[in-house]
Symmetry: C2
Subunit: 344 residues, 2 copies
């Protein structure tokens, strides 16, 4: 390994992915580990640090050759303070992840939202290669997203740009975890689909979905169970999915009408598993809602190409951008401060 490499980490609710990436976006080594958030904050941070050490070792290098690390978090962050403000899936609130990781590793650490990083990775190295503007819609437990303009992530005035899941598509619609009603997330996330499936079954509709869930020893509807139920042509799952896709089409159309991106990438667990089968009905639902004919002809609406690699790659890219911004003095980021006396 030569000096100047960066590390991208994706901290998810169930697993952590880490990758050493060179300046062309090539992955030199990868590693993964269960998150096991139940073990507590300190245990998770130690686990991340160990994983980073492991992936650097796999790349045949040492920590001194790593210029910086960016970690994507499923929640809101304050990068300036190195703080995870709120990550509901981890049960984290105001966790000083940046400082702790810097202390443990002796590497400069940047924080960002995981989905935003995935959208950036997809723009730079996946379906968005060569485009100027792209929007991402990621469907999972919730709905996240991101906006990339001119190769740069839109972060917003309070770091909350790209939260397309909280655009309200149905005023007075179902309650969203955010407290509002009728957000895209409350209409078309996996959680919303599960709620709708259970409701239809309670109403007496025939479905094998609940059996599939318990047969797998699960309590919740996962992406893979959705795919299985659809393959078996379960009528309730089919109906609920169709409705979610219609709402996602409306969401995509609203984003396209307002922002006119070249590409809309659809990501998240269901999109990773189903690809075009998931996206085609979304595209069909969006098409008639574009206000310009040329949108219908020219906007590409496509499933993620990089899948779970998108976020670590985006994270690595942000590490590079931030370092460049720091060294050229263009940014608010404070100069590189290492903690070589750390215990990592």
């Amino acid at each position: 390994m030569r000096p100047g490499m960066v590390v991208g980490v994706d901290l998810g609710g169930t697993k952590v992915l880490a990758a050493v990436v060179d300046d062309a976006g090539r992955v030199l080594a990868e590693a993964r580990e269960a998150t096991a958030a139940d073990d507590g904050v300190a245990a998770v941070i130690t686990r991340i640090a160990n994983l980073v050490n492991l992936v650097i070792e796999r790349a045949g290098g040492s920590r001194e050759e790593i210029s910086a690390l960016t970690i994507g978090v499923p929640g809101s962050v304050s990068d300036a303070e190195g703080l995870v403000e709120m990550a509901p899936n981890l049960g984290w609130h105001n966790v000083a992840l940046g400082r702790e990781l810097e202390r443990a590793l002796g590497i400069k650490v940047f924080l960002d939202n995981d989905v935003r990083l995935a959208v950036l990775g997809e723009q730079a190295y996946g379906v968005g290669r060569g485009t100027h503007s792209m929007v991402g819609v990621y469907v999972g437990t919730g709905i996240g997203g991101g906006v990339v303009i001119g190769g740069e992530l839109l972060r917003g005035g309070r770091g909350a740009a790209g939260e397309v899941g909280h655009m309200i598509l149905k005023p007075n619609g179902p309650r969203c975890p955010c407290g509002q009603r009728g957000c895209a997330e409350a209409l078309a996330s996996r959680t919303a689909m599960e709620r709708d499936v259970r409701k239809l079954i309670r109403k007496g509709k025939k479905s094998r979905v609940l059996k599939l869930i318990s047969k797998q020893g699960r309590t919740r509807l996962t992406s893979s169970l959705i795919v299985r139920a659809l393959k078996q042509k379960d009528p309730v799952m089919t109906k609920v999915m169709r409705r979610a896709q219609d709402y996602l089409g409306l969401l995509v159309a609203n984003l396209v009408n307002a922002l006119d991106p070249e590409v809309v990438v659809i990501g998240g667990g269901i999109a990773e598993r189903m690809g075009e089968e998931f996206v085609a009905p979304i595209r069909e639902a969006a098409g008639p809602l574009f206000f310009l004919q040329r949108h219908r002809e020219n906007v590409r609406i496509v499933p993620t190409e990089l899948k779970e690699r998108a976020a670590p790659l985006g994270a690595a890219l942000v590490a590079r951008h931030r370092l460049a911004a720091t060294s050229s003095g263009r940014s608010e980021i404070s100069p590189l401060t290492l903690h070589p006396g750390g215990n990592g």
Copy 2:
């Protein structure tokens, strides 16, 4: 006048404004003229050229001291081709406005959408001074808008970014001139308000609005008539305005939730006349729909400060940006081509 000045022009459905602007955004001279689009394309272009000559004269200069001119058009443009693709208010379709003006004036001409330019002007010199990200919502015959990120207008993959009026707020709602249903424009523009006022009156609601319109010798509901009816506490106008403001609040909330701008500026005829009285209920309607508490505390939602001067100032700024991009080779814009043998 010293060399290096630029001219910003706002071509509206009823009037044309032109301003000579220096590099600090100071207006050295202004001039205005009726558009009178009924006279035909050639007459309007000659009128614009004469107005530009007049305003340069008023600034005490000559055409040779003008580096470039940008003209804002109420419609869609292809700047690369110097083409007004479609401007419904003018009845224009594929008009080579850029080439014709360059021929007439011997000045490099750039084209852009009028509302987008107004948002840029407002960001640079008005309510958005010093901000990184701003969104504009302009309520008039239709609803237009714009997004400014890092001091640059978002133009989009097909030059259609910022058309926030065609975000769909009510699926299967009233028909929009764009062909869709339930767009913000079909729910909250002046045209939509007039439709709703007439509908309520047909249903037997008491209102003086129609009398006000005919007393003024008008056939359509203008911004000034709306203001007058509201001052007289006309119950139908009050109710219709309140509903429009609720929809505008939903539109603003969706834009804020997705893009997290520092400022949302509300512009257009009604906002220019009513200011805070128009905006306060929009702000109130948006507040409970923000998914982040800090949006509620920190996003500024404010009426236009620059009013009709915003578009010429934004136009002048675009002229400077484009020239800079051309000279540094960063842009797709072809080198300066003048037509000094023109008849202007």
